[in-house]
Symmetry: C2
Subunit: 222 residues, 2 copies
Amino acid sequence: MRTLYHFPLQPQSRKLRLLLKEKHLDCDLVVERPWERREAFLRLNPACETPVLTEDSGLTLSGDYAITEYLEEAYQEPALLGRAKVERAEVRRLITWFDGKFQREVTQHLLDEKIVKRLYGRGGPDSAALRAGKANIHVHLHYISWLIDRRNWLAGEEISAADLTAAAHLSCLDYLGDVPWEDHPVAKEWYARLKSRPSFRPLLADHWPGTTPPAHYANLDF
Amino acid sequence: MRTLYHFPLQPQSRKLRLLLKEKHLDCDLVVERPWERREAFLRLNPACETPVLTEDSGLTLSGDYAITEYLEEAYQEPALLGRAKVERAEVRRLITWFDGKFQREVTQHLLDEKIVKRLYGRGGPDSAALRAGKANIHVHLHYISWLIDRRNWLAGEEISAADLTAAAHLSCLDYLGDVPWEDHPVAKEWYARLKSRPSFRPLLADHWPGTTPPAHYANLDF
């Protein structure tokens, strides 16, 4: 059986869980705690990082970049990276926006400070970082709203891996209660559309030991 | 004319300069200083990050991920992302290794501390970060040597974007005199092979104001 080794509160893992479901691909999920450096996992990916996907053929893929591109090449429908060159450029630009810029300016300051640092034994959250993350997220929610005022989905008329990437980050932060939805109604409406898709349901049932998401996290009418 | 907007001491920009040359694609180069937030550049890429590639067709591509995948789709020979699925998985795994793990563990601690922070007005280098970068680089040079003991190039028998990505990072650090080549003869031999390729020559002529690379930087017999 196809297997995804993932960490539930990692945006890059969540993106792939969404992507697999949107492509109607069955997959076993194995929760991996990379900080434990499990030997069998290190043999799959010497970088010791989630996500990792193994196929029945024996093919092992490490990292969300390799897995996303592979899934699109191997299972073309529905297309989630766009079709024409200009669409593909736009989807990948926005993936870089969220996995690069948003990750550095928001996710790292909130998710890594509150959850990841502790798991890796690197101490508690830094209050200056938390403040920066809480300030920066508004810029990105504005940008999502700006795009959604002009398009049906982030990268164009069709849903794409750009939406899944952005939603994967935001869903982790929403789990922490750190998304100021009320200030950004257009972004909220876009997220509500994603949240109501069947692919999103498993994420809303996630529960990580020692943490409790706010009541609205799993609520479709939030 | 095709144009690449790049920052000479950014590994992701250097990777694309190498990739364009390896694919025999002519390209104008424009040095971009993203911290100046030039308005015409912001219109090309609202993330205000290099690299950006514009094609004569009007197509604009932002970020090394979108540009790398586009170049491979549009100009298939020579293939630099591998051909069979298992090869492509391996090339992309190693791109993630160097642009992810190596970037975080080494490049950020040395290049960003010594050069980038100052350009963005974020103060001088942090000595603990420099120490961490100088310690971590050995692990990665060991890994390169381990791969090269088993393969002709990092991802297999053919040169690929994995080699170009790794060499792009190392060439920036070599410009700072921060690569302990003498401790890693196998990695050094691999880098010497890359350095002697015509695609590498323009990088060796780079000179950034206020910095002077060590004498061995541009020397093919270092």
